[in-house]
């Protein structure tokens, strides 16, 4: 997934080769769709936003100068397109009610997660990320799923790298608190069933 390969397909797509563009879509659709999901919180709406992103990207592909990574440019469009969609729906971004100073015990969370079945564990982590405010979920997604640097995330979200650093620090803590709460409620549920 390196730069020259992207550049090759971009060049072909600019000449009207839709098959080349289909390769670009296949390459990035999971991340764009995930970003849209974290922002709009609904599968159908996320699909609409993600399709709209690629449609727009095809139309403005000639404006991609290649000074940044194509993925960064694409994710920036996806993030801002999602924000526009939320605004159009007259919705606002959620703010977190989770206190970052809440106590959690990491070895305990890890132990309880290991105790769960694979699918159950995945669902618990997914639910916890989805319970984060949109911007926190985006920062976590870009940093941990796509392994982007603070600078790249800052470029995508139009904020400073330092703000990303602070947001990432808080998002991690919130995620740990959410995981702790979810695991506790699941254990209580399981205990109740028995």
């Amino acid at each position: 997934m390196n730069q020259p390969e992207d550049a090759y397909y971009i060049k072909a797509a600019l000449k009207g080769d839709t098959k080349a563009f289909a390769i670009i879509v296949d390459r990035y659709k999971h991340m764009v769709f995930t970003l849209a999901m974290k922002m709009v919180r609904n599968r159908e709406e996320a699909e609409e936003v993600a399709q709209d992103v690629f449609f727009k990207v095809y139309r403005v592909l000639s404006t991609f100068k290649g000074d940044a990574k194509f993925s960064t440019w694409l994710y920036k469009i996806a993030y801002h397109r999602s924000l526009d969609y939320i605004k159009k729906q007259k919705r606002t971004l959620n703010t977190s009610a989770i206190d970052v100073n809440d106590h959690y015990n990491l070895p305990d969370i890890a132990y309880k997660l290991d105790y769960l079945e694979v699918n159950e564990r995945k669902q618990t982590i997914k639910d916890a990320i989805d319970a984060l405010p949109e911007d926190d979920a985006v920062v976590i997604t870009l940093h941990y799923f796509e392994e982007l640097s603070l600078k790249e995330i800052a470029e995508i979200m139009n904020i400073t790298p330092n703000t990303v650093k602070v947001r990432l620090f808080r998002s991690r803590k919130r995620l740990a608190v959410l995981l702790k709460n979810k695991l506790e409620s699941e254990i209580l549920d399981n205990y109740g069933r028995k």
Partner: protein, 130 residues
């Protein structure tokens, strides 16, 4: 600091197991068919102006020159070939002598420039919306 690092590696491990969301199977096909439909629509109803920009510039320059000559030229209508040509084009017997003040000329030019800028900006705005 250590706690932060531990949390970082714990989340990294957990998210690696989770993976990304999966879009519907026909996601790519649906985008490509939308793009192809748009391309087809554009070629079927492509707008080609009757006069190109260059032709418009040439036409405007000619008309402006003729008017400028007629108004400011102070031509000798009996001898000059250009004056006779201007007379033929405009088919006007004799234009009265116009005298514009400098203020009027500058105001007229100023308004003209603003109108031109607005047309340019509006065109850009409409293209953005489309």
């Amino acid at each position: 600091m250590d706690e932060n690092k531990e949390l970082d590696s714990f989340i990294r491990k957990s998210t690696r197991e989770l993976g990304l969301e999966k879009p519907p199977i026909n996601f790519t096909d649906s985008i490509i068919s939308k793009i192809e439909a748009e391309q087809h629509k554009n070629t079927a109803y492509s707008y080609t102006p009757i006069f190109s920009t260059r032709q418009w510039v040439a036409i405007t320059a000619v008309i402006m020159s003729v008017f400028a000559l007629a108004i400011f030229g102070n031509l000798n209508h009996e001898t000059t070939a250009i004056a006779q040509l201007v007379d033929k084009i405009l088919v006007l017997p004799e234009l009265p002598v116009f005298a514009f003040s400098s203020t009027f000329t500058y105001a007229f030019l100023g308004v003209g420039i603003f109108v031109w800028i607005q047309i340019f900006l509006l065109k850009q705005q409409f293209q953005k919306v489309a």
